[in-house]
């Protein structure tokens, strides 16, 4: 009998709210967290094609974290710490009662410590004083700095690693955490997705890739519009999501509240192109199908899809095509929502934040709206996409995430029944 893996705690820091209750309330309201970029000041925005992002405004780490701890890590790792702390409290998991080597940490991060990274690189090249590079530079930009610091903060001595697969990083983190528990290597995995790279260089890079929305610079709240006919690129976001995964037996033993089951996972590569998806959607459909097989279920049982849906022209159309391919006539009966319409594309955090929205859909029976879905695009019309809250008893949900480097992930979440 395979080990059942469940979610018992949630934590989030996002452009629409810090903390799960604030996030979920804003999500159900369909509120956009996208605003004009202010963070670069005094660096001028004139040369940027896109000028909007999903920023976490007024975040002061000291409010949530020990000040010494907060000072020594980059913004993305601060976010990871904040989200993990909330999730552990939500799960009522007391580390003093746990075997430390049975609690793991798996983090998904796409860009990592870019705030300090950019600052140090700029100073070195401008001032040419190598001896003034900060001693913390290497530990901070090393991509597992968040998984390390989260483990240190909570004394979690089990498996500890970071997955970096661009935009699908934390969907893979969820899948790998599930497998880690299934394989018996841990009882609990603190699973996090985090990124905070709305920085002058990274943002310029995405502008040069012509991946970002440029048409709504004067109306930031309209810029992220997955599946809408007038979408014109994604909007960068930042944040973190954390989910406490544990074996059902462990959760029951400590009488934890169970939100949902993490039932299946698939990881594939399109082996096709660094940034372009295969237009026929076959690889995305295959990934979803394999995740459902892993979960021991079929397309007939899926009620909700938390779509990757970044608001790019091609990406949304390919995903919709893949959904139609796999689910056939049922495609229009499944509720679909795009969390990125609210928070933008939080890169490495996207899978975890989408995962939280999926878990809450199962737990509350409410599916958050897709903001700015004003005019359906025939290229990706699915009847289950809605600008308003959908009430539905969700028994099984699919979380999709696709990343640069031609990689795809899908995770199946189910209503838990003992």
């Amino acid at each position: 009998m395979r080990t059942t893996v469940v979610v018992t705690g949630l934590g989030v820091i996002s452009p629409i709210g810090i903390g799960v209750s604030e996030f979920w309330k804003a999500a159900l309201d369909g509120r956009s967290g996208i605003s004009a970029i202010t963070r670069f000041d005094p660096f001028p925005m004139d040369g940027y094609r896109s000028k909007v992002a999903g920023q976490i405004q007024g975040f002061s780490p000291e409010q949530y974290l020990d000040s010494v701890q907060a000072e020594r890590v980059d913004r993305y790792a601060q976010f990871a710490l904040v989200a993990a702390k909330e999730a552990l409290a939500d799960a009522d998991l007391q580390m003093t009662k746990e075997k430390p080597h049975r609690v793991g940490v798996i983090v998904g991060a796409g860009m990592g410590g870019m705030v300090m990274g950019e600052r140090e690189i700029t100073q070195l090249y401008q001032q040419q004083r190598p001896h003034r590079v900060h001693p913390n530079f290497i530990p901070v930009i090393t991509l597992n700095s968040a998984s390390g610091i989260v483990a240190m903060a909570h004394g979690a001595k089990g498996p500890n690693f970071t997955i970096s697969t661009a935009c699908s990083s934390s969907a893979h983190a969820l899948g790998q955490a599930m497998q880690c528990i299934r394989e018996g290597r841990a009882d609990v995995v603190i699973t996090v997705g985090a990124d905070a790279s709305i920085t002058p260089l990274v943002f310029a890079g995405f502008c040069s890739l012509r991946a970002l929305s440029t048409r709504y610079n004067d109306h930031p709240e309209k810029a992220s519009r997955p599946f809408d006919r007038l979408r014109d690129g994604f909007v960068m976001g930042e944040g973190a999501g954390a989910l406490i995964l544990e074996s059902a037996a462990h959760a029951k033993k400590r009488k934890a509240r169970i939100y949902a089951e993490v039932a299946g996972y698939a990881a594939t590569s399109e082996a096709y192109h660094m940034v372009i998806p295969r237009e026929d959607g076959e690889e995305v459909a295959t990934t979803m199908r394999l995740a459902l097989v892993d979960a021991g279920t079929t397309p007939a049982h899926v009620d909700y899809i938390n779509a990757h849906a970044t608001s790019t022209s091609i990406g949304d159309a390919v995903e919709a095509k893949a959904i139609r391919q796999l689910f056939k006539s049922r495609a229009d009966k499944i509720a679909v929502s795009a969390t990125k319409s609210l928070v933008g594309h939080t890169l490495g955090a996207a899978g975890a934040i989408g995962g939280i929205a999926s878990v809450l859909a199962i737990h509350t029976g409410q599916i958050h709206p897709t903001a700015n879905y004003d005019e359906p695009d025939p290229a990706c019309a699915l009847r289950g996409i809605s600008r308003t809250v959908q009430e539905r008893r969700v028994k099984a949900a699919l979380l999709n995430a696709f990343g640069f480097g031609s990689n795809n992930a899908a995770v199946v979440l189910k209503r838990y029944s003992a």
Binding site: G47, R49, A166, C167, S208, L209, R210, A211, T214, R215, R229, L230, D232, G233, F234, H273, M274, V275, I276, P277, H308, T310, T312, S313, I314, G315, V318, H345, L347, F402, G403, F404
Partner: protein, 99 residues
């Protein structure tokens, strides 16, 4: 007619990118269908062209830039402000990213 200098520079940039002889590239060639450029390769080409001609090409203009001649015509238009309107074609599509 295209300004030979503009067309030559664009053809040369393409030849450098594709590692082939500039003489083998005709203005009528379609960037994708004849030269095999995918949307990312077109973006890389335009990045070079922006530098060569000191231009910024907005995303909305990308959809019209389908042939070597169209790119030359567009750049010529941008260098001669009065022609800009005819060279710019609005479209709802853009670079094919999935991220």
């Amino acid at each position: 007619m295209h300004d030979r200098t503009v067309l030559d520079k664009i053809t040369q940039a393409l030849a450098d990118y594709l590692k082939r002889d500039a003489d083998s590239i005709e203005p009528s060639y379609h960037l994708r269908d004849d030269l095999g450029l995918d949307s990312m390769a077109v973006i890389e080409l335009l990045y070079k062209i922006e530098e060569t001609f000191n231009l910024q090409i907005p995303d909305q203009d990308l959809a019209g830039l389908t042939t070597v001649g169209a790119v030359a015509h567009y750049v010529q238009g941008r260098l001669t402000p009065s022609k800009q309107a005819s060279a710019t074609k609005k479209s709802s599509t853009k670079g094919k990213k999935k991220k």
